[in-house]
């Protein structure tokens, strides 16, 4: 039966599949082209960038762009700022969402359903609705021009991740909790020692998406952070695009280093990206 099906598929690798392949290949080139162009610019000498007709491949590779490009704009300190903020946000979101997810999925208390629907409902609320009153609140707290408005909220639960964790916990039998409870384990022990190890795949997914979100965010830093020494990379790259108007190669080199951590995470954690998007969609159907 199986071989028959395979045979059938072989046979059908015909005109239609060739067509499919060609369309996909053309699309793939279109997807990759901007990034490849970026890499070639980053490796070009300054004068080679502005040539008409353009040289598609750099004649000599200027690896030094990656050094020069990052020197002028205080790049590495900014990189460190971004990294610190992203790591703190990730820790905050994961810890709080796991706690909340456990409470909502495993503990019984009045009002649980109400809170659950409030949290899930808040997902539908556009983010900008709170922007200005919160700006005012943080300013009054003296948090203006600090990282606190970006980091602190991460520790107070993330609706998407809590929801995701609740859905995942529901697929794990309660008998594990009960067995541990009979042995006298506390809820905190059950969560951290029994359930967290069992839910590592979804936690990894959450870590990746949380880090990605924090590494990408632009509007919040734009509103709150003024002092260039506290800038994140998103802010720096957006405002240095003008400074670099005549040195595209240096800009592209710096921009590539900004992308690099995400690329590394993607290539090593590809499985979790795909799983995560899949589970996000199936979770939302329930």
């Amino acid at each position: 039966m199986h071989t028959e099906a395979r045979f059938k598929r072989r046979r059908k690798f015909s005109l239609l599949d060739t067509l499919r392949f060609i369309i996909l290949a053309i699309g793939a080139v279109a997807m990759l082209f901007p990034l490849l162009w970026m890499v070639t610019i980053a490796l070009k000498g300054n004068n080679d960038v502005f040539k008409i007709p353009p040289e598609w491949f750099p004649r000599e590779l200027h690896w030094s762009n990656f050094v020069t490009g990052t020197k002028e704009i205080n790049f590495w300190q900014t990189f460190g700022n971004s990294m610190f903020i992203a790591v703190m946000c990730t820790i905050g979101q994961i810890v709080s969402s796991v706690l909340v997810g456990y409470g909502l999925a495993r503990l019984n208390f009045p009002g649980r359903k109400l809170w659950f629907s409030l949290f899930v409902g808040s997902l539908m609320l556009p983010g900008f609705v709170g922007m200005i009153p919160l700006f005012n609140l943080y300013t009054e707290l003296g948090w203006y021009d600090t990282w606190l408005p970006i980091i602190v909220p991460a520790f107070f639960g993330n609706a998407t991740f809590s929801f995701l964790y609740v859905q995942y916990l529901r697929t794990i039998s309660v008998s594990f909790d009960e067995a541990a409870k009979i042995d006298g384990a506390s809820d905190f022990y059950i969560l951290t020692k029994v359930l967290v190890p069992m839910t590592m795949p979804v936690i990894m997914t959450m870590v990746i998406f949380s880090f990605q979100g924090a590494w990408n965010q632009y509007l919040e830093p734009l509103i709150y952070i003024i002092d260039p020494s506290k800038w994140t990379l998103a802010l720096a790259m957006a405002s240095y695009k003008g400074t670099y108007a005549t040195a595209w190669n240096l800009f592209m080199a710096a921009d590539l280093i900004y992308i690099l951590p995400m690329l590394l995470i993607f290539f090593f954690g590809q499985k979790y990206f795909m799983q995560g998007l899949g589970s996000l969609n199936s979770a939302s159907l329930k």
């Binding site: 599949d17 996909l24 353009p54 556009p126 709170g130 919160l134 990605q212 695009k241 900004y258 969609n281």
Partner: protein, 299 residues
């Protein structure tokens, strides 16, 4: 007595675990939502105390502000272009990718790759791509012997150029649709094949109905997301030329933090919020005509 005490203890424990989100919800969702209802009716620069002015903000918005209606128009255009296009393109690509072909894993990776690039990195890249003289876009057109494009510099093409960037990052939608397609029971296709169904009819009558719930959710999230677009405008066009890309969220940001008109900006926030709610409600309302749920009997 002892039992109820233990029960109480259990309740307290539950609330302790969800405390972070209760605080988060109250401070970051409920408080700004409620307080902005009042702020929308005030004149407020952010430095002084808000002064109650009734509906003056809304009167100014609808009748006098020369930038408001162009912004609404640009926003609606943007949403009506970008949401359907990325849904259709995402679904088509997912269908093409949902089959074993040589190198299919590579194709999936490549299509997802652009979404890994941070928003600001990709937007600054596209700024250079659209540069008229040396940018990639016009270089390619010249290479192919085609007339150059105006991209961000013309009123007509600026907004579609922003939409195009979004289409480059269609990958996460593709993966979501792909996982939906892979959960369609194979028996359905086999049964249809036995009945002698043609391939495009299978796509139309099996695949599409089976994934309408995912399509619907992506539609809702896409609408909410597209109405909030901001980064593209801030990095690439600054709202120009001639307001053609002045999306509402960008105008709100500008009025609040550029013009220091907090009260007015919050009034605009409410208008945008209501527009989003109307769109979402309409989508929900008409969804039962096309969304298929397995538990239902038929459509």
């Amino acid at each position: 007595m002892r039992v109820s005490k233990r029960k109480l203890h259990g309740w307290a424990k539950g609330y302790l675990f969800i405390l972070p989100s209760i605080i988060g919800f109250s401070v970051f969702v409920a408080y700004p939502l409620l307080s902005s209802m009042y702020y929308a009716l005030t004149e407020w620069s952010g430095y002084d105390t808000p002064k109650f002015v009734g509906f003056d903000n809304f009167k100014y918005m609808f009748a006098e502000d020369p930038a408001f209606w162009p912004s609404v128009r640009a926003t609606l255009y943007f949403v009506l272009m970008s949401v359907p296009l990325s849904l259709i393109l995402g679904l088509l690509l997912a269908m093409l990718l949902n089959k074993s072909l040589p190198g299919i894993k590579w194709f999936r990776t490549i299509y997802y790759l652009p979404t890994v690039v941070p928003s600001i990195a990709s937007l600054t890249l596209w700024l250079f791509i659209y540069q008229p003289q040396y940018g990639l876009a016009n270089s390619l057109l010249r290479l192919l012997g085609l007339p150059e494009g105006t991209w961000l510099t013309s009123e007509k093409t600026a907004l579609p150029s922003l939409v195009l960037i979004g289409l480059w990052q269609v990958g996460s939608g593709v993966i979501i649709f792909l996982s939906g397609l892979q959960s369609v029971p194979q028996e359905l296709y086999e049964a249809a094949e036995v009945d002698g169904a043609v391939r495009w009819r299978m796509a139309l009558h099996i695949t599409v109905p089976m994934i309408t719930p995912i399509l619907f959710l992506q539609l809702i999230l896409g609408i909410i997301g597209a109405f909030q677009a901001f980064n593209q405008v801030q990095v690439l066009t600054g709202g120009g030329p001639n307001f053609s890309t002045s999306l509402l969220n960008f105008k709100i940001y500008n009025d609040a933090f550029g013009g220091r008109m907090f009260g007015y900006a919050i009034a605009e926030v409410w208008v945008l919020f209501v527009i989003i709610m109307i769109f979402t409600a309409l989508t929900y309302r008409y969804s039962n005509r096309f969304v298929y749920y397995e538990s239902d009997n038929g459509r």
